[in-house]
Symmetry: C3
Subunit: 359 residues, 3 copies
């Protein structure tokens, strides 16, 4: 639906200059914008694109000379990405799930479905499950026995919500995510290889574990998700052993993230793509873990920690820390280590053979 520039500026809390009555139907990059689209020129890098594209209005960077660039209207946004958030929310087309319950869906009679819930084709809701009012479930979704989903959830195609999962309001689940799978928790009768390896660290060869069978510790504890949690595509969250694995309010998980059993993640965290959190780790509030970062089992991470992509966190991290590397350490020190090693290679007196290092 079309919006006027003045309406958009008001929604963004931003200043408008020029003709606020121009109507636009969507947003585009400056170079490819049509006359009915709002160009997003959030930095001077986009100036050239504006002259190529056909947009009559744009969101521009502070101080931009919009009239010289041929625009009829301009919106000045003090924080560009925040403007992007509000703008894309304005133009989002919705998930097009339709209305009501698709006739092919199967909902067990004991399930409780709130008002205005949308259920897509081939979705299955098991006995005693609860779906909060205003929630929208896509196609091929499974909701397990007794799961409780709060109001205004958006659960996309093929997501799997297991039994004993409890979620707050406004849960978003991307396609294929699995919440409430069994924890990976096994024990051998005698001390296992990893138990013995903690002492030896490779200084002597490990003998076979005898008997070798792994006995499973079952996951009875379910998963507890706060309000405003989002789970990425094909991400997985294991159920806890006897208490729930828990994710705090406002925390977002990216695609292919793995959260092990008994893990606690605080509020307002971001776990980026392919992050892995091993069992029983504990993560504070407002923590951001870069893509492919890993956290070892039972490790504690404080509040307000930032870890760079690929960081391998194997020991406790204090609140407010910024870490990088494998094993992770303070980011400035990790970078210093990289530089020191490169200097060592350059200045090394012994010739360096070209063969790859072997184990």
């Amino acid at each position: 639906m079309p919006h006027t520039i003045a309406e958009i500026a008001a929604a963004l809390g931003a200043e408008v200059q020029g003709d606020g009555e121009i109507k636009v139907t969507g947003a585009a990059e400056p170079a490819s914008a049509r006359p009915d689209q709002l160009a997003l020129a959030l930095s001077p890098d986009f100036a050239a694109g504006l002259s190529v594209g056909q947009a009559r209005a744009a969101i521009v960077w502070p101080g931009a000379d919009w009239q010289a660039m041929g625009l009829a209207a301009a919106i000045f946004a003090p924080r560009a990405r925040l403007a992007m958030a509000r703008l894309t929310q304005t133009f989002a087309p919705g998930d097009a799930f339709g209305a009501g319950v698709h006739p092919s869906a199967v909902i067990e009679p004991s399930a409780r479905i709130g008002a205005d819930v949308v259920v897509g084709p081939f979705t299955y809701i098991a006995a005693n499950a609860e779906i909060g009012a205003g929630s929208r479930l896509g196609a091929h979704v499974t909701v397990g026995q007794g799961a409780r989903i709060g109001p205004f959830a958006a659960i996309r195609d093929g997501a799997r919500i297991g039994p004993r999962v409890v979620a707050g309001a406004r849960l978003v689940v991307q396609p294929g995510a699995v919440i409430g799978s069994d924890g990976f928790s096994y024990v051998t009768e005698a001390p296992s290889g990893p138990e013995r390896a903690k002492r030896t660290r490779g200084a002597e060869p490990l003998a076979p574990t005898d008997p070798p069978e792994w006995h499973k510790i079952e996951s009875l504890g379910g998963v507890l998700l706060g309000d405003d949690v989002e789970i990425g595509a094909n991400a997985t969250i294991d159920a806890g052993t006897i208490r729930p694995t828990s994710i705090g309010d406002g925390t977002k998980l990216d695609n292919l993230v793995h959260v092990g059993h008994n893990v606690t993640v605080g509020r307002h965290c971001l776990l980026c793509g392919q992050v892995g959190i091993a069992g029983s780790a504990s993560i504070g509030d407002r923590v951001v873990l870069g893509g492919q970062a890993g956290v070892a089992d039972h490790v504690t991470i404080g509040d307000d920690v930032v870890a760079g992509g690929g960081a391998g966190i194997i020991s406790k991290v204090a609140s407010g820390s910024v870490v990088f590397g494998y094993p992770a350490e303070r980011m400035d020190r990790a970078f210093a280590g990289v530089r020191a090693l490169r200097r060592l290679v350059r200045t090394g007196q012994k010739p360096v053979p070209k063969d790859p290092p072997s184990e």
Copy 2:
């Protein structure tokens, strides 16, 4: 269902002290346990919790003074996590899949379904597939043409079993796992970039591969899984080229693990979350790979190897080794390297610039 403390102790092979006739309906952490729950106080760390919670009985650590902590009965378990395994198995509520074949499921007439098999809503079993007696399939499962699943399998929601997959008894598949996808195996007509890079290692720039098209090597070999194998949520196992990719008896894969085509994994291994095994690698028996560890293609790993989380294994590993690092080496040496580099940074005479290292 309730059990007496004496029954539980007998199941655990553990000693009971106090009133063995107390009945409990489940297990809980000490601080949150209700009077009808068995508190799990497996180490002295839980002593304070016991005084807060309401449990009348607990599993306690060796030497615990259970009467002083207000308990009426105590179970002494010689190996705490093993007791957890048996205890959680005792209290596991089952998967609640119901009984029989759901009317919405589609089973091709030529498929052979054993006695007492449960098939969930919207599950599809293709032609000539076999499902062993006592197996339970959840909702939205796909079983491909001619796949053969042994008795007493538990295949959860949305798992994909491809054609040419053969599994032994008691297979467990968590939601969303894919078994039998195509291998990632391609070849160019002329030597490709990676083939040439093995020689140059970056010392000279790679010219474009010409022609650049990748020709696919198809996967005809399927997947062979032993008895007592468990596959984690959204994990993937590719089919072999002309012989099956194979996983030995008693081996467990965690969530989001990737096993490439032609890989052989031995018996009683654990592959933790997000481990990746590239094509044609070979892994022995009783091997444990920590989370996010990777194994390069065609690499051989012996028996009884333990790799720390994140280890990048690019060359052969001898039986009994404990490895860590990227590239992986003996764990004690890897830790020594980390310390040596940190010492080098501290003692370095040249000032270390603060900029991040660039490629």
Copy 3:
């Protein structure tokens, strides 16, 4: 179906010696080959296997004395893996999806389905979607509103194609892959921890972000896939913000690969298992990224780059580079660094404590 040795050799563009009229029904490893199978003995390592197996014909290495090994016919292939590609394509049994639209599938009336399209059980095709002629969709597939799939696609069980996804010809999607999930793009009102960490790099503790809420930038841009693209099992590709995330012609993604929003991947690339590409990164043509390699957000990688498994790419990479390590650098230099550090450990005068390094 059986083929003569002469037919196979012609398909491979290879020379045949001996009895070209022998018929075979499939391929096998030499040691396990039956008389009606073609043994694949592509290197002298397989000579012993040939004497054990029963094959009468084999593809052999250059110079092999096939008559001495008891064969009645031999095919000489100049490039072994290329012969494997053609041979496995010859013997591939097809995906056995059957013909036509399964009666349980749901296709919205406004969707446009080309000629000879196969649609499996429980598959859902949303409004206004287009499926090109000759395409084959497995079971439990979701195709979102308005998605456009080119001709001769093969979309396997449980794959999720979102709205605003446009694909060229011959798309292959392995089971469980998700194309068109929302980007992981959030912004706080005030500068977030990661924004501030870029300056401090851990030299001072980060204060809490206030207010802490993450505002979502919606993904309106969809995904654009070229011709001959293949997407691995449980891989994920996020939609772009206002322009599509794009993957070029002939590029192949392995299992569990993650491609973030706004990423551009060029033509004829291979992204191996569990590779992760963060948002807005740009990757050239003919690039090969080894398993578990990661690319940081907004990073540019040129053409003809090869990255070893596990490489952590955090800055620009020039065309033709071969890189390894974390952070990634030229492969020969990375190997030299590994060796220099190991030498430093061996020659270090201070005793090295055995404790693991702590953060």
